[in-house]
């Protein structure tokens, strides 16, 4: 059997044009041996979920700097569950206040990586928590 490649969808939900962070993560994940599908900007939760399903990803990594994370992140988690894809690991990053993290974790997001987090940490988390 061929060695498994972790597939990650790096997604930018909502009306947020800041993609530098997403691209930094994408490159770091690639350098760690993962296959990274980049969704592009201004994706709706429905678009993200559809892409995640078609690409059969192991991880959905969302980047959001517009403040709408409390609405959009759980929405994506919910839609994934409704579409039989609840086993996909969901992580997020961007401009997310620490105070919001517990709420997000209760609503389907496994971990949030705020600005300044070493990419190695995110990579390790993904490798350790991806469903085998």
């Amino acid at each position: 059997m061929t060695e498994k490649h972790i597939r990650v969808l790096v997604a930018k939900p909502g009306l947020d044009g800041h993609d530098r962070g997403a691209k930094v993560i994408a490159r770091a994940l690639r350098d760690a041996g993962m296959e990274v599908i980049y969704s592009g900007l201004r994706q709706t939760p429905e678009q993200i979920v559809s892409a995640a399903i078609q690409e059969d990803v192991d991880v959905v990594a969302m980047s959001l700097l517009s403040g709408a994370h409390n609405h959009l992140f759980p929405k994506v988690a919910q839609l994934l569950k409704e579409n039989n894809a609840g086993d996909i690991l969901i992580v997020g990053g961007g401009v997310i206040p620490d105070a919001d993290i517990p709420f997000l974790k209760e609503n389907g997001i496994s971990e949030i990586f705020t600005p300044g987090t070493p990419t190695a940490k995110a990579i390790e988390f993904i490798k350790n928590n991806v469903k085998q």
Partner: protein, 312 residues
């Protein structure tokens, strides 16, 4: 098998799962591919290749929309290069096809080349069969534009489209011999740019010199994909090529040749895997390798030894 039924019924998660099995060569893969094979053969498989930045993804996006208007279902396999160092890949073609993500008649899958050099990944051929068996009318394979001979695309597509753009420095350089021989349709994309006329002329001259393919003379079309120009004509030309292939018997000939190549590729793959597995079991390879380094034995003798172990 439940998964197959769902996939053939249009459930995208099931289709996606099966493609993953095939790509990862899991134990389930063989059985699924065997069962699906009988349903293949109906799709028109279109390969799109060309240098990086020539607009393949944008062109594909527009073509898919055109065929959707005609009520056809379309699958797209977008292949991007895997880093030979890290084994990872950024699969970015999907970005250009965002609008299509929610269309239930469209399925887009990104694949990394995973070590293959001919422009496509090993899993692409399987993915094509799976999508064919699931009933898509068109399957587009969009491949890494390595710039020279995209050998793999010919092994997998009925119609091969070569995309070029003006202004890539020395235009002839961008159109090396290998590509010219495999194109059924040539596109000059971004045809609103300077250098278009020159490129058209160069393409025409090079195609005139090519004596083969007399029955189908590859047309050279101009498009400006971002402005949706030339797309309808291109879509029609693809259909015409499909008609030509069927009427001339060329389709059957091509598919037979491709099948033969595929069978031998599968054999080589299987044998290689068996050898690697045997070596891992024995655990003697490192020692043997050192013996070759020390010139105790030569590499050819070692290869004979290794092969004898599985071909007793």
């Amino acid at each position: 098998m439940e998964l197959i039924k769902k996939a053939r019924g249009g459930d995208q998660r099931s289709i996606a799962r099966i493609i993953s099995y095939a790509e990862n060569e899991t134990p389930e893969a063989a059985e699924v591919l065997q069962k699906l094979y009988a349903f293949t053969g109906m799709a028109h498989i279109v390969g799109i290749t060309g240098p990086p930045g020539s607009g393949k993804s944008t062109l594909t996006d527009k073509l898919v929309k055109e065929y959707r208007k005609q009520g056809k279902t379309v699958a797209v396999l977008a292949v991007d290069p895997t880093s030979p160092y890290s084994g990872g890949a950024i699969l970015g073609d999907r970005v250009r096809m965002s609008d299509l993500t929610l269309d239930p008649g469209v399925y887009i899958r990104s694949m990394g080349t995973r070590g293959r050099l001919g422009g496509l990944s090993k899993g692409t051929a399987s993915a094509v069969k799976i999508l064919d068996a699931c009933g898509f009318n068109y399957i587009f394979i969009e491949t890494v534009g390595v710039g020279q001979s995209e050998v793999d695309i010919v092994k997998n597509a009925d119609t091969t489209i070569v995309v070029t753009v003006p202004g890539l420095g020395d235009d002839i350089q961008a159109i090396k011999a290998g590509i010219l021989e495999i194109g059924d349709i040539f596109i000059v994309n971004k045809a609103d740019r300077d250098g278009t006329d020159r490129l058209l002329m160069e393409l025409k001259m090079m195609l005139d010199l090519n004596p083969d393919k007399a029955a189908w003379i590859p047309p050279i079309l101009q498009t400006v994909a971002t402005q949706n120009k030339g797309i309808t004509e291109l879509a029609d030309t693809i259909i015409q090529h499909g008609d030509f292939l069927r009427q001339s018997g060329q389709l059957i000939r091509q598919r037979r040749e491709r099948l033969e190549t595929e069978i031998f590729d599968l054999i080589i793959n299987r044998i290689t895997q068996q050898i690697i597995r045997k070596q891992n079991e024995d655990g003697t390879f490192e020692q043997e390798l050192q013996r070759v380094m020390d010139k105790e034995i030569d590499p050819y003798t070692l290869v004979d030894k290794m092969l004898k172990k599985i071909f007793k």
